[in-house]
């Protein structure tokens, strides 16, 4: 009798947990897709002029973003997107010296969405970039 109850309970628990996890991954997936779609729009308006729609950059003027590792860290990524950069940047052994203007009007969410797009499309990410990673990055670059 107690076995039966235990069996029933375990079945219920399994079903429940599976359902819970599935819905959880589903919502993560949906979020990734939302971020990616928004990120694509933002990339088109803010980045693609220089870095090109295919992420290849332009000659030695503007660095490519279609690399496995678009930038060494997401923190640096957030920092550069928001504030721009006037220091030299070495990417794949090539030095890029042109100043990139900042985009002070972009919100943390905007930047997370752009990162999601770039790192999923060309990098190795399979999930969305968390808005907190952007916040931490921006805090760090203030210092």
């Amino acid at each position: 009798m107690s076995y039966k109850i235990m069996f029933r309970l375990s079945v219920m628990l399994t079903v429940g947990l599976t359902g819970f996890f599935t819905s959880c991954t589903d919502s993560e997936k949906v979020k990734r897709e939302q971020y990616y779609a928004e990120g694509y729009q933002l990339y088109t308006s803010y980045c693609s002029n220089c870095h090109s729609t295919d992420g290849k950059g332009l000659g030695d003027l503007y660095p490519p973003l279609n690399r496995k590792d678009p930038l060494p860290s997401k923190e640096l990524f957030a920092c550069i997107v928001k504030n721009g950069i006037s220091e030299k940047l070495v990417i794949d052994g090539k030095t890029y010296e042109r100043t990139m203007p900042g985009n002070p009007g972009l919100t943390d969410l905007d930047i997370a969405e752009i990162a999601t797009y770039i790192y999923n499309k060309w990098g190795t990410d399979t999930t969305y970039t968390n808005i907190y990673d952007v916040k931490i990055g921006l805090e760090k670059c203030k210092q």
Binding site: N49, C50, S52, L58, G59, D60, L61, Y62, R98, T99, P101
Partner: protein
């Protein structure tokens, strides 16, 4: 009945305009000459009065290129050339224009008859040395594609009155300048034969197509 009459007129208008457009697209037709034209009457040797049309011509100019050489109308004598306006620190449409122009540059690489003149509209910043670096980073060498700088007023003047593009300073635009991203196709008589959207693939492709046509004249 009234409706049917309307429909007929509409239909007729459609057919007529379609045939007109089709007529204009005739591949044998020459490229138009763009700009205002004037007429002048003159008396020929045998006493007849004839009317000549005077077309808009790019006026004489003198600028300095990325190698600090002086570039004038003599530099493009006997050549077809493509002209545009940009500046090296432009974050908006210039990179897109330069990507398209690079495509054109590669397409005309082996054609000694064709040149490109890109004028900076920010000469204070874009000195020959800055333009040289820009050209190199873009992958441009030699003297087929010249990046020109010079007196600001002269550059704006030839932009507006010569090439008929708007190249004006605007502090509200990112970078402080406004311009429309056009490529102009100039023939050997310095007449403008086409204007293209330098920010799109379609614009660049149309230009290359028209260039081919122009070369057969």
């Amino acid at each position: 009945m009234y409706l049917r009459f309307h429909q007929t007129i509409f239909w007729l208008a459609g057919v007529i305009s379609t045939s007109l457009i089709a007529g204009c697209n005739n591949s044998d037709s020459k490229l138009p000459i763009i700009g205002e034209r004037d007429t002048i009457e003159r008396v020929t040797e045998d006493g007849q009065t004839v009317v000549d049309t005077i077309y808009h011509v790019i006026p004489d100019f003198s600028f300095i290129d990325q190698d600090s050489n002086t570039v004038t109308q003599k530099t493009v004598e006997g050549k077809i050339y493509i002209s545009d306006f940009f500046f090296t620190s432009c974050p908006t449409i210039c990179p897109v224009m330069k990507k398209q122009m690079l495509k054109i540059y590669k397409a005309i690489a082996d054609d000694p008859e064709v040149m490109i003149l890109s004028h900076t509209i920010d000469p204070r910043h874009d000195t020959p040395a800055v333009l040289k670096k820009y050209a190199e980073e873009l992958g441009v060498t030699g003297n087929k594609w010249l990046f020109l700088t010079g007196e600001k007023e002269k550059i704006y003047e030839i932009g507006q009155r010569g090439y008929l593009v708007s190249a004006k300073e605007d502090e509200n635009e990112p970078g402080g300048f406004i311009h429309n991203g056009a490529f102009m196709l100039i023939d050997k008589n310095r007449n403008i034969r086409g204007m293209y959207d330098g920010t799109t693939d379609e614009g660049a492709e149309k230009l290359l197509k028209d260039l081919k046509k122009l070369k057969t004249e």
